[in-house]
């Protein structure tokens, strides 16, 4: 056995029968099942675990908890793993971080030699000028930055989300938390008990035999209650409005991490206390540890933390550390009792503690300095619940002040006491929490004593306050002298509290020492805001599982069988093309093609007041639309921005069918509901969203009439079924279809809507019936090319969130003589001002150059005056065509504009008379 591993300890969590081998910086080391990375390495005599962020000073175990700033390591491809929390696993590849070129010999220690210490703001002040050199500085400095290596080829992993609704959620599984969970469960509540460490127990885990006995009893009691769910290695990461609580569950096995979101009746915060370091010269040398750190190492992992110790104690738990050290065979050479005014002043040594100087002027030889300087309450969850905890000078820590009824606090965060007192308080709190979740009148819980703890923050010397960010007490004081006298500003200037442990170790020391310099006490110095998450959460956990539902039309199986290339359009999976979009265009322009346009939004409107609704939501006139007619309409939001466009037809006297863009189906439906419910509740309009109820197929091309006439008894003769008309009838034997004659492609076309369960049947019937006509299925890409040839804009592609209707070639539709419609007042304002951008059709002078969509249009002086919104090579015209938004001064027909291409070259284009590149008169679709 290694000389650093102790004999069996009563509370040890290691399994000596299960040795585990892993790698530390390439070398194989051995620990036991249950060891953390830190304890296993400490048992192998490792004392230096990292190099500090700015000065590259050697650092060792400080807190031996999840929040240990000095034991953050790379494990395999995962950077920033908490080495004092993460348990070892066989074959783990653990490396130290931020130690280029090696942990033992670190060239960056030159930082220390050159500047001795870098003053706060050093980087800002030094590298700000000349600005032209910044890229060079950045390259060099980034080699010095902290953090591990991120593997860009990181294999995808599984993360999970879960929703839970529990009556009482207890954050913290120490004695008070366990007691609270038990009492709440006995009060009939469903309880979730969340513990950050690997097991329940809190400080009892590394306590004496009585503590271990108490722990066994409480734990048994928790485990035998079926209405308590225990989550270990999990952390309550945030508390949000109306008691919405997030929990990160870490060790689950089949997923990396799970985010639990819970709406809880009552949140009981029992997060205990964190021990904080004392600030003195050399307080970051390996071998300077918190009293709880040495107790954890000795009692949980049977690791001897050193050979010869000086202990500075100021409380009972510090005293207990002395007993533990002695039982572990550590020679406690000197005890400094801070309650008697004895403190440590300076620790010296190279790569670890060698001597300790005390306040009486004596120097002691030691390799371990143990400090018990006081407690920090991790009040994050209380702050998130709206509390402003108040500093108690007697207890030298913050205590809760005022909490909402559904958040309660117990344990070390509420005060101090013996295990029995903590358990009693926990029980009372848990029982009261269960009562409150039943809606009973809140009653106060008797308070715990605040506890007695001398205020110990800084010795007469200066040392490190923030170990993660290498911020010293001197930095904080000089920041205050430079004028950063508010803690919030000083934090940003010095970066204190902004490192990986986010203030848990250093925040109170920082406030106290900063307060020292600005001449006010902690009470007057506001603490910094605590924001969620309390502990780090992986981005994958927030994202959860990759789960994105998509929608398919009734013809999907056919598209797949036919070898389509899919494209995701909104939520819909659609055929982009079936191999050659240009050939599909030619087939439609010269013969006939069919396209599945089922995603088209469809809203069924019935009632006597439908015309009034249409008149209000569209900018154009709708009062006289005869049965059998369809009309194109544009909708604007109240700010005059184009919201959607589409065709609405009148199928019967009081029956209309509205179509919307595929992506606008939902928002138009909501928009109509909005007006019907909040604006005109008395109107007789019944609305049903029926997008999925109909399969929609557009039959387009000069021979479309011939094809459709083979399948229907509807009279398609142009004299009886004209352009922009609708007919109902049977198509391909399917009754109840409606057909409208419109043309997004610019060709003669019939859009057939059949009940969705007959969609595939209709599609196949069209293909059979049109076989001799060469009927060709075409996809979205061919349709987009043809609509661009015709100059039809697509809402959301050629328009954006600022596209006011007047600039988009639909002026003819805007009827300002209507008494009112959505957007009218703002459109009137726009019409009077007129300086909105315009949508124009453009053609490059070189017909071969197709500028990419979103290429910018540049003025003579190099300013941006617009952008290309749609562009394609037109198979019909054999040249490049585009739509673009330009400033009104460049919108006149014939204007030459310059487009900056993706490769940096410029191409000149000319503005057309009208939007259509092809068949501007529309003679083809009226055929």
């Amino acid at each position: 056995m290694s000389q650093h591993r102790l004999g069996a300890r009563p509370g040890e969590v290691i399994d000596r029968d299960q040795p585990v081998e892993f790698k530390w910086n390439g070398k194989t080391v051995r620990g036991f099942e249950g060891d953390t990375i830190a304890s296993a390495l400490a048992a192998n005599g490792v004392r230096v675990f990292s190099r500090s962020f700015k000065y590259h000073r050697p650092r060792g175990i400080l807190t031996a908890t999840y929040h240990d700033p000095n034991v953050i390591v790379q494990v395999g491809e995962d950077p920033n793993v908490r080495g004092a929390h993460q348990r070892i696993e066989a074959g783990m590849d653990v490396r130290s971080q931020n130690t280029w070129p090696s942990l033992g010999f670190d060239v960056k220690t030159v930082n220390r030699l050159v500047g001795r210490f870098l003053s706060p703001g050093f980087y800002y002040k030094t590298f700000i000028r000349p600005q032209s050199l910044w890229p060079t500085y950045a390259k060099v400095l980034s080699r010095f930055a902290a953090g591990g290596d991120v593997d860009p080829n990181h294999a995808p992993a599984n993360f999970d989300h879960r929703y839970a609704h529990v009556d009482v959620l207890v954050a913290g599984g120490g004695p008070a938390g366990m007691a609270a969970a038990i009492a709440a469960a006995d009060g009939g509540a469903s309880v979730m008990l969340v513990e950050e460490e690997h097991d329940l127990g809190g400080h009892l885990r590394y306590g004496n035999s009585q503590d271990l006995e108490d722990l066994r009893e409480l734990k048994t009691s928790v485990m035998t209650r079926p209405n308590i769910e225990v989550l270990t290695d999990s952390v309550v990461s945030g508390r949000f409005d109306h008691n919405w609580v997030s929990v990160v569950q870490r060790t689950i096995g089949h997923v990396e991490e799970r985010l639990i979101q819970a709406r809880v009746g009552a949140l009981v915060v029992a997060a205990g206390t964190l021990e904080r370091p004392y600030v003195f010269e050399g307080n970051d040398l390996p071998g300077v540890m918190l009293s709880t750190a040495v107790r954890r190492l000795i009692n949980l992992h049977a690791v001897k933390p050193g050979d010869r110790a000086v202990v500075m104690t100021s409380n009972e738990l510090g005293d207990a550390a002395i007993t533990d050290l002695e039982s572990a065979g550590v020679d406690v050479t000197k005890v400094l009792d801070a309650r008697q005014g004895e403190t440590v002043v300076k620790v010296s040594g190279g790569r670890r503690v060698k001597t300790v100087a005390d306040s009486s002027g004596n120097t002691h030889r030691a390799d371990l300095l143990v400090m018990a300087a006081g407690w920090t309450t991790p009040t994050s969850l209380l702050n998130m619940a709206g509390d402003r905890p108040k500093y108690s000078p007697e207890a030298a820590r913050y205590l809760p002040l005022q909490l909402p009824d559904n958040v309660m606090v117990t344990g070390g965060m509420a005060g101090s006491g013996s295990t029995n007192e903590l358990v009693d308080h926990g029980s009372a709190t848990g029982a009261e929490a269960a009562r409150r979740t039943k809606g009973e009148e809140p009653q106060p819980v008797p308070k715990l004593r605040p506890g007695i703890q001398p205020e110990l923050y800084r010795s007469s010397t200066h040392g490190f306050v923030d170990y993660s960010e290498d911020v010293t007490s001197k930095d904080l004081i000089s920041a205050a002298r430079e004028g950063y006298d508010s803690m919030e500003l000083a934090k940003r200037y010095t970066t204190v509290g902004m490192g990986p442990v986010q203030g848990k170790v250093e925040a109170v020391n920082a406030v106290a020492i900063h307060g020292e310099a600005v001449d006010n006490s902690l009470l007057e110095t506001a603490t910094t805001t605590w924001r969620p998450p309390y502990a780090p959460i992986r981005l994958g956990t927030l994202a959860g599982r990759k789960y994105e539902p998509v929608r398919y039309s009734a013809i999907q199986d056919w598209h797949e069988a036919y070898g389509y290339t899919p494209i995701l359009a909104g939520q819909w999976v659609r055929p982009d093309h079936y191999g050659d979009p240009a050939a599909e265009v030619n087939a439609v322009r010269n013969g006939v093609g069919i396209i599945d346009v089922s995603p088209l939004g469809k809203i069924d409107l019935r009632g006597t007041d439908v015309p009034r609704l249409l008149e209000f939501v569209y900018v154009n006139k709708w009062s006289r639309l005869d049965v059998g007619k369809v009309r194109y309409g544009v909708m604007c939001a109240e700010d005059g921005v184009i919201m959607d466009d589409g065709v609405t037809g009148r199928l019967a006297d009081d029956h209309y069918m509205m179509t919307t863009t595929s992506s606008g189906a939902g928002s138009v439906w909501n928009w109509l509901d909005d007006w019907l419910q909040t604006g005109f509740p008395s109107w007789d309009v019944r609305m049903t969203a029926v997008t999925d109820g109909w399969t929609s197929i557009n039959v387009a091309g000069p021979r479309s009439r011939e094809l459709v006439s083979r399948l229907t008894d509807i009279d398609l003769h142009p004299g009886s079924f004209g352009y922009m008309e609708v007919r109902t009838g049977t198509v391909a034997g399917i009754p109840g279809c409606f057909v409208w004659r419109i043309g997004f492609t610019g060709e003669l076309s019939y859009e057939i809507h059949s009940p969705a369960n007959h969609g595939l049947e209709l599609w196949e019937a069209l293909l059979r019936a049109g076989h001799d006509l060469g009927v060709t299925p075409f996809g979205l890409e061919a349709q987009r090319i043809m609509r661009l040839e015709k100059g039809h804009f697509i809402v959301g592609q050629d328009t954006d969130g600022l596209s006011q209707a007047h600039g988009f070639g639909v002026d003819w539709a805007i009827k300002m003589d209507k008494p009112d419609f959505a957007g009218k007042p703002e459109l009137r304002f726009q019409a009077e001002h007129g300086e909105y951008p315009r949508l124009v059709a453009i053609q490059t002078l070189d017909p071969e150059v197709v500028p990419d969509e979103a290429c910018q249009i540049i003025s003579e002086t190099g300013g941006i005056i617009g952008r290309v919104t749609s562009s394609r090579m037109s198979p019909t015209l054999g040249r490049s065509i585009a739509l673009a938004q330009v400033e009104h001064t460049s919108a006149a027909p014939g204007t030459r504009i310059n487009i900056r291409l993706t490769d940096g070259k410029t191409v000149t284009a000319s503005v057309l008379q009208q939007h259509a590149h092809f068949d501007p008169d529309g003679s083809r679709l009226r055929a």
């Binding site: 949000f240 409005d241 109306h242 919405w244 979101q261 709406r263 709206g386 109240e638 700010d639 909501n670 509901d673 909005d674 419910q677 909040t678 604006g679 509740p681 008494p819 009112d820 009218k824 007042p825 703002e826 009137r828 304002f829």
Partner: protein
Amino acid sequence: MLLIQCPHCGDRNSDEFTFNGEIVPRPDADADPATWRRYLYMKSNGDGWQTERWFHVSGCRRFLRVERNLDTNEIRDVRDYGDPS
């Protein structure tokens, strides 16, 4: 995540709703541009109690009047938009 007591569906998470802001009466269509632009773009952004509009889009699809405290997010009254207050 707020908890909203929908009068039709019961207690629901706010992500089932869309938030439409403070309820401000729509000016007359002929009101002067200044009035309209104030209505469209200027939000009072106050504190204390506000009556606002929420749309239960992933629930009953009803527009609701919600009284919410902008300091504490407390919600004290939720009713259908059409119900008299």
